[in-house]
């Protein structure tokens, strides 16, 4: 069965929870300023499995060596007349020591304002990631969880909200360029891998079979400013 509406629906608004990888797993250095973009999304069945090409543009700034503030605008949502932003901070509270990884936490919000409807909605997010730097360029692997919180008590047609906490495990890798002028991120996100998907309107393709969806993302960021430069 052809599902153009379902696919487009998926492409445009699933982005709320899944249009970007973790923004900053490792904080920037103090006073570092970066810009970047991300591309990718959940994998769907469309004549074969493909990740949806969701896009966002991000900015990050190192407030301190272990604290980065960031924000992003979701360009796909903008095409549909919505202002969708996410913003938050990443704080590293544990340093790597032999087998103990660095650990960072990223509380943030995702805000979506629909211009036609003049209504806005906000979702709190909490990411917790462990990451391991390696090599001269301190590239790193990371593994963690992305948590979305739905605050509404009800959903469509006055039904009780089915899920208030959406739990999305993720793994990723970041390659750094020479002198750390750029970073390239690759991430797999296992979106709600405990919620059945086989009868969802959108044709999810998931590594966890009939549950959840699998997101695949790439991102790139460039360092464009630092007080030291």
């Amino acid at each position: 069965m052809n599902r153009p509406f379902a696919l487009a629906l998926f492409a445009s608004i699933f982005g709320v929870t899944s249009c970007a990888p973790s923004r900053f797993v490792e904080p920037l250095e103090k006073d570092e300023l970066t810009v970047g973009f991300s591309l990718g999304g959940p994998v769907i069945e469309f004549n074969g499995p493909i990740p949806m090409p969701m896009t966002s543009v991000e900015v990050g700034y190192g407030l301190d060596t272990n604290l980065t503030v960031f924000g992003a605008i979701h360009t796909t949502a903008a095409y549909f007349g919505n202002i969708q932003l996410d913003a938050g901070v990443t704080y590293k509270f544990l340093d790597q020591n032999k087998f103990i990884p660095n650990v960072s936490i990223s509380p943030s919000i995702n805000f979506m304002y629909t211009l036609d409807d003049r209504s806005g909605k906000l979702w709190p997010i909490l990411d917790l990631n462990a990451y391991w730097n390696y090599g001269n360029r301190t590239n790193y692997w990371y593994a963690g969880v992305n948590n979305y919180f739905e605050l509404s008590k009800t959903m469509a047609n006055d039904q009780p909200q089915a899920h208030h906490w959406i739990f999305n495990p993720q793994i990723g890798h970041v390659i750094k360029g020479k002198n750390d002028r750029w970073q390239l991120t690759t991430e797999f996100k296992f979106l709600a891998p405990y919620i059945k998907n086989w009868d969802a309107f959108v044709p999810y393709k998931s590594l966890t079979g009939g549950y959840g969806a699998t997101g695949f993302y790439i991102g790139c960021r460039w360092k464009i400013g630092n007080q030291d430069n």
Partner: protein, 296 residues
Amino acid sequence: MKKIILYTALLAFAIACKKGNLDSLAFYGEKLDAYEFENYAAGNEAVPDEYAVTAANRTLVSMQSIDEKTGESYTIYGVYIGDVSTIATDTVILYAHGQAAHLDAYWPRATLLASITEQYNYGVFMMDYRGFGMSEGASSESGLIEDVNASIDWLIDQGAAAERTMYYGFSLGCIPIIDRAANRADFQPAKVIIEAPLASVANLTQRSLILNVNPKSITNLEFENAEKIKDVYMPLLWLHGIDDDYIAIQNGELIYENYGGVYKDAERVVGGHHGDIPATMGYENYITRLRNFIEL
């Protein structure tokens, strides 16, 4: 830093100015120059020859469907299976098809409906919405309702009696069927049959996305079947495949639960998917199920 923020905001604003939406994608009609009906190669949708309807027993009909906002008129097409001259005394099923293609694709289903008793004792009327088959124009949510309205008008013009008229909607077709059953006071059908209905666009999106996302962020469509069914009072039969992976059965359950009338009946089809209910139930079982409901 200020420049970056400014440029990013300008970029987003520029993109937002050229706003897109998905409304047209909900209507997957295919244009045709001519219908094939009994000669159409239905593939997997084909039904056994014993249900075949010959060209002599069908009539191609054209109607004018009016856009109530603009006043523009569109010629839409329908097909009546049975004897037009006896509509006034026949039991008639008004069938509103799903989102795929055109009338030809639903011809096999119409022949099954025409076989509910002995063939042609029941008239079956189905139409192509704007943008489907030979019908002019482009589909919209209001257009679906206006097109079914035009079909009801045609039936009235032929003398059809409301008390012997059944409305039957499949999938997308449930939207205008439920709306007309709820809101058209001058022609209240005897009974309503809905197969694989969606509850609402909001329900589809939020059930799929888990979060309570405003569907208005990408579409103006509402398809509020779950609300409108509260104003449907004639007897209701709902059929839905338990294994429907396109419009999950939860949609139908919600509509069934919200139904505002007194008599309702449900057929949750084990192993049924979207569009294969007759084949899954067995054609005779399907026909018998409908007959039993209609003849209640």
